[in-house]
């Protein structure tokens, strides 16, 4: 099978770039979108000029002002950024049928049918960049690879206003000296474990004996090795492939932001019960469970997983949702929690296997998760990159470093 050609398009300093476009005198100045009165709140985007002073997304406004007292702080206008994002996606859809936004400023495009040669790839990337510049006066960086992981690594290599194509034969070269901590999905706990084995680069990880990794990390050991080899998901999902009417969900907005996860999990359990009841009433079962979390400052994250079997019972849905929650929760105050079950099919007519709460598979899954958590610490279970992880934010919303803790661990896909 031929390799796919995946584009990762990342808008450079998106929120700050929009504000600089709307307020041209800000160009070339250290601009911070985020913060608030009295230096409360966090930085969602820092302009490149501000980054020179060490300012980063996710930093507190207080710290940002200390590092760069002359920085200009702007209140974010999320609705504006979302609408401009929508228009940029429309532009992208002129070039590709399969466009999957993974956040307000990032998208994957499947260009496998459009281009083949490196020259064609570069030409197309430049064309898209030009189109976005002409229509929106905004600058994008494009990374291209045979899968999403490589495309994203590529777009991160040459920013801003960059273009990088990493053909399969260059991936090993590029990955060789990359610190393992830079691999998407490898978190601090895994990194520490690996460093104790003398593994500091992706190249060293890729070359490490698989049986030792497997012994230490279990199935996860195989997966991080695949990441180190530049192997990953190459499917680009179109939002329409998850139609609304084929899903059932409930969400809850708290009257005040919750800092404690306990009442949040309690609410999540209730939401799972309501979804399960609706599924039962409709005689439906679903294959995808998606968790929605909205943090303070309107930063919304979706995190979902396609299961091998179908679910309907609240205990199963809650168990999956709780795992998803643990994978992405970063202890910031939460405003909204929601759960959604999609890829629905008729329960009676489908002949599909349903996960029951007492089922052996679920026990195994939970056990496997617990084992990993015991071994690597609570934060080790990152979230799955891939088709349902549509809400990850990199240049704004929360620290990029936390984004790098994603891992490809998929408990329900194991053999």
């Amino acid at each position: 099978m031929r390799n796919k050609i995946i584009f990762h398009i990342d808008m450079d300093q998106f929120f700050a770039a929009i504000e600089m476009r709307h307020h041209p005198h800000l160009k070339g100045k250290p601009v911070v979108v985020g913060g608030g009165p009295g230096d409360r709140g966090i930085v969602t985007t820092a302009s490149y000029e501000a980054r020179r002073y060490g300012l980063r997304s996710g930093m507190s406004a207080y710290q940002a002002r200390r590092l760069c007292p002359q920085a200009i702080f702007l209140t974010p206008n999320i609705h504006k950024y979302v609408d401009i994002s929508r228009r940029i996606l429309q532009r992208m859809r002129e070039f590709a049928e399969r466009v999957e936004p993974t956040s307000v400023d990032e998208a994957y495009l499947d260009m496998s049918d459009r281009v083949q040669t490196p020259a064609e790839i570069e030409q197309l990337a430049m064309k898209i960049k030009r189109r976005i510049l002409q229509t929106e006066r905004l600058i994008a960086t494009v990374g291209v690879g045979a899968n999403r992981l490589v495309a994203k690594i590529a777009s991160g290599m040459n920013k801003p206003d960059g273009f990088t194509f990493l053909p399969p034969d260059r991936v090993i070269d590029v990955f060789r000296d990359m610190p393992v901590g830079d691999l998407h999905g490898v978190g601090r706990a895994t990194q520490a474990q690996l460093e104790r084995l003398g593994i500091r680069t992706a190249g060293q990880l890729a070359a490490y004996p698989l049986d030792i990794l497997r012994r230490i990390f279990g199935k996860w050991g195989e997966e991080i090795r695949q990441i180190a080899l530049g192997q990953g998901q190459d499917t680009v999902m179109v939002p329409e492939e998850l139609p609304d009417e084929k899903s059932m969900g409930h969400e809850h907005t708290f009257s005040q932001d919750l800092s404690n996860p306990a009442p949040l999990l309690g609410r999540l359990h209730l939401l799972c019960e309501r979804v399960a009841r609706r599924l039962r009433d409709a005689d439906m079962i679903g294959q995808v469970v998606t968790l929605k979390l909205r943090y303070q400052g309107f930063i919304t994250r979706f995190h979902g997983r396609k299961l091998k079997d179908y679910v309907q019972h609240e205990t199963v849905i809650y168990n999956v949702a709780r795992i998803l929650f643990q994978e992405i929760y970063d202890h910031r105050p939460v405003r909204l929690v929601g759960v959604n079950v999609s890829n629905l099919t008729s329960a009676s007519g489908s002949g599909q296997l349903t996960l029951f709460p007492t089922g052996l598979r679920l026990m195994k899954i939970s056990k496997a998760c617990d084992q990993i958590k015991d071994r690597l610490g609570e934060k080790a279970i990152g979230y799955a990159s891939g088709i349902y992880d549509t809400g990850s934010r990199s240049s704004s919303g929360y620290p990029r470093s936390s984004h790098r803790k994603n891992l490809l661990y998929r408990p329900f896909h194991g053999p």
Binding site: R21, H22, H23, H25, L26, I72, L74, T75, H79, R137
Partner: protein, 84 residues
């Protein structure tokens, strides 16, 4: 940069061209402001009502945010970013 929040009705003369709406001038507090440049525009939605927003420059460095309610035809000045 200081941003002053406002929410006042204005009168607007606008050009419709190729499916695009561009304000040309607006009248606010008895003064007419000619729009020299539209720095950007975006849409928002409240219920079923769509709003179209514009960040525009008139004489002087200040940036005005104007909004247009597509259902009621009401234009408002939403704010001014005072420069300097």
């Amino acid at each position: 940069m200081k941003t002053e929040k406002l929410c006042e009705r204005i009168e607007v003369i606008a050009l419709f061209q190729k499916g695009k709406l561009s304000p040309i001038k607006f009248r606010w507090k008895g003064r007419t402001h000619r729009i020299h440049r539209i720095h950007g525009d975006w849409a928002t939605q409240e219920g079923i009502t769509r709003f179209h927003h514009f960040a525009v420059a008139s004489d002087g460095p200040d940036i005005y945010e104007l909004s247009y309610n597509e259902s009621t035809y009401v234009w408002q000045i939403e704010g001014i970013s005072l420069i300097g």
